[in-house]
């Protein structure tokens, strides 16, 4: 009662369910608008201007010329995109398969001594800063004093191998680091997916003599697929944006062999300061990301719709 008499206005506001929703959402909405919506709109606007931070010339409206330029340039976006998609598809596929395999191993070894320690160690790569990971892998890969060369040459007779300097190897060397870092994430998602399978259903399948592979499709995939697909989606989006892992290792080189779209964007905007051009580039990447996400969500919903229709 004393509260009501002290602050009648606020009380009335919070009593109205719609107003309460707005009041509670306001802080996060403010944050979202200031740090997300406005910059995105700004980016969209800037993509129609010719604007360089170093030129000292005021921005000039040039319509779609930035976009046309991106596709007509000598280092056309297509090379970067195809490289990026190779990176994303092979990386995510490998991480999913190996991650799932490890997930099943951990799932099936619940009574193994030292399991907790092994799990903690397994997840260590994922929590490291990508820049740190990239830096220490540059040393591991180093042709003269790197430990990987040392180990290989202890087994095989060969000259020094420059993993990050060799145009044929650099891309795969970088991809391997990405897999080292992110396979645990898929293991985690697999464990979460397996955890969502009802225990009774697994036990019933065991008693009903259902073989393992059939059990996988009949019971496990049915309950775990949503979490698995979510994991793959997150990994795909994240992998598409890979930047900080590669910069300390190759900076996109040798040549352009490890130059993914995010590296090109980073170079054009924060090294060359071509703000208009890189805004257009960023808009294109944003559209691609939205398209990929939509496909995933469509696939997931489609599955669910089919289920409810029976």
């Amino acid at each position: 009662m004393s509260l009501a008499t002290q602050t009648p206005g606020r009380r009335r506001l919070m009593d109205n369910p719609r107003a309460r929703v707005l009041v509670l959402l306001a802080p996060v909405m403010m944050f979202f608008i200031v740090f997300n919506t406005i910059p995105t709109l700004w980016l969209l606007g800037l993509s129609f201007y010719k604007y360089s931070l170093t030129g000292g010339v005021p921005p000039e409206f040039i319509g779609f010329k930035n976009f046309v330029g991106i596709f007509n340039a000598k280092n056309a976006i297509w090379f970067d995109l195809s490289r990026t998609f190779t990176f994303v598809i092979s990386g995510v596929a490998f991480q999913t398969l190996l991650g799932a395999a490890l997930g099943f191993l951990f799932w099936g070894s619940r009574n193994m001594p030292g399991r907790r320690v092994a799990l903690t160690l397994l997840f260590a790569p994922m929590v490291l800063t990508p820049v740190a990971t990239g830096t220490f892998f540059r040393f591991i890969y180093d042709p003269t004093f790197g430990v990987l060369n040392y180990l290989i040459r202890a087994v095989v007779e060969t000259g020094p191998i420059d993993f990050l300097g060799n145009p044929k190897l650099a891309f795969w060397a970088v991809l391997a680091v990405d897999c080292w870092m992110w396979t645990p994430f898929m293991t985690l998602m697999t464990l979460a997916a397996l955890g969502s399978v009802p225990k009774a259903e697994l036990e019933a399948a065991e008693i009903d003599r259902v073989p393992f592979l059939r059990r996988l499709t009949l019971v496990i995939w049915h309950h775990g697929k949503f979490i698995m697909m979510l994991g793959i989606l997150l990994r795909t989006i994240d992998s598409f944006k890979t930047l900080d892992l590669i910069i300390p290792m190759t900076k996109g080189g040798p040549g352009q062999n490890t130059r993914l779209v995010a590296l090109e964007l980073n170079k054009q905007s924060f090294e060359s300061f071509n703000m208009g051009w890189s805004s257009a580039y960023a808009v294109l990447l944003l559209l691609i990301s939205i398209a990929m996400t939509s496909v995933f969500i469509y696939v997931l919903n489609l599955r669910r719709r089919k289920e409810t229709e029976g």
């Binding site: 009802p198 009774a200 259903e201 036990e203 019933a204 008693i207 009903d208 003599r209 009949l218 029976g310």
Partner: protein, 354 residues
């Protein structure tokens, strides 16, 4: 022949013995209920039978064959879980047929015949092509029961299959269970904490407490002659009255007894407890030979015209379940008559005579 022999089975979880050295045989073609309060080890014992848990020590034999080290899929048992398992991507008929798919001895027509038979027995033929979303929880559990029995394994295990069901679904399931078991004479072990269910379904009930089987008897024997005070208290609603008594040279004396009743000679003299079911005590308004006066302190209307009353006699409190309203108002005097033949004698919670 598939009798189940549990040979000195113990299962420990850390310091706790969930199943404590149980030695028991369930006969072929019999419906045995494992009955007991939560945490008494009945589900653990069943999971050991299914092979889902390994006993810490002891053996399990099915029809004379040691299955202790066999995985569940090699034991050839059907099992129904508390959580109704129906494989979501398969129709009802496909669910029923699934376990038979992995039995090479069965040909297609025999599988189909068994599926049809079970569909008929469960009264589910119109739903043969339905999927999980089309069925309520009771029907899903019926599918699970059908799947467990259609393969016609010699042993079928039921782990509290009606726990999550509503009253209507529960009755429907119990009827389905009865029809199925009458049709296929399989050895059945049925775990439940619901005594009504156990009394209805079982040929024999194994009453469990703290990892041990206290008594294994036909339902009516377990009810009227519980071998432990726990059994008397657990079975029945309300449970048996336990009243302190003394054993003297001329017989047993207690507040609710008009005169001493004879006791077997081998019993030591002194403190003893007598047990009597509330519905065995009769109540009247007038004092008659052999009756004891008491004060009516509480009454409640029970089912089927029965009244549940509490009567204080001397220092003892007796629950009496009578037909018709009690002959006095609350606080009034009623006369209780205890038939001597129905009195059970307990020392330290174990029945010694009666």
């Amino acid at each position: 022949m598939a009798e189940i022999v549990i040979d000195h089975v113990t299962k420990r979880f850390g310091d706790l013995a969930a199943v404590d050295n149980i030695d028991m045989t369930f006969s072929d073609g019999e419906v045995a209920c494992l009955l007991g309060p939560s945490g008494c080890g009945k589900t653990t014992l069943m999971r050991i039978l299914a092979g889902l848990e390994q006993p810490t020590s002891g053996r399990v034999l099915f029809g004379g064959k040691d299955v202790t080290d066999l995985p569940p899929r090699k034991r050839n048992v059907g099992m129904v879980f508390q959580y109704p398992v129906m494989y979501p991507t398969l129709s009802v008929a496909e669910n029923l047929a699934l376990p038979m798919k992995y039995d090479r001895a069965l040909d297609q027509s025999e599988r189909q015949r068994r599926v049809d038979e079970v569909l008929d027995v469960l009264d589910m033929r119109p739903m043969a092509r339905a999927f999980i979303e089309d069925l309520d929880i009771g029907s899903r559990q019926k599918v699970a029961i059908g799947r467990a029995v259609a393969r016609q394994s010699e042993i079928v295990l039921f782990d509290e299959p009606t726990t999550n069901m509503g009253v209507a679904a529960k009755l429907q399931l119990i009827h389905a269970f009865k029809r199925v078991t009458r049709r296929l004479r399989q050895t059945i072990v049925y775990v439940t904490h619901d005594q009504t269910e156990a009394m209805t379904l079982a040929d024999k009930i194994a009453l469990m407490k703290a990892g041990k089987i206290l008594q294994y008897d036909a339902p009516h024997v377990l009810y009227s002659e519980p071998s432990t005070a726990f059994g008397g208290w657990f079975m029945g609603n309300p449970g048996m009255n336990f009243i302190p008594a003394t054993l003297q040279p001329d017989g047993i004396h207690a507040a609710i007894l008009a005169g001493p009743i004879a006791a077997p000679a081998h019993l030591p003299k002194g403190e003893i407890t007598i047990g009597i079911r509330p519905e065995r005590v009769t109540m009247s308004g007038q004092a008659v030979t052999g009756s004891v006066p008491g004060t009516l302190v509480d009454q409640a209307v029970g089912i089927a015209g029965r009244y549940l009353t509490t009567v204080r006699v001397g220092g003892a409190t007796v629950k009496v379940n009578t037909v018709g309203a009690p002959p006095a108002d609350l606080g009034g005097t009623v006369n209780l008559m205890v038939p001597h033949a129905r009195v059970m004698l307990y020392v330290d919670g174990v029945r010694v005579a009666g």
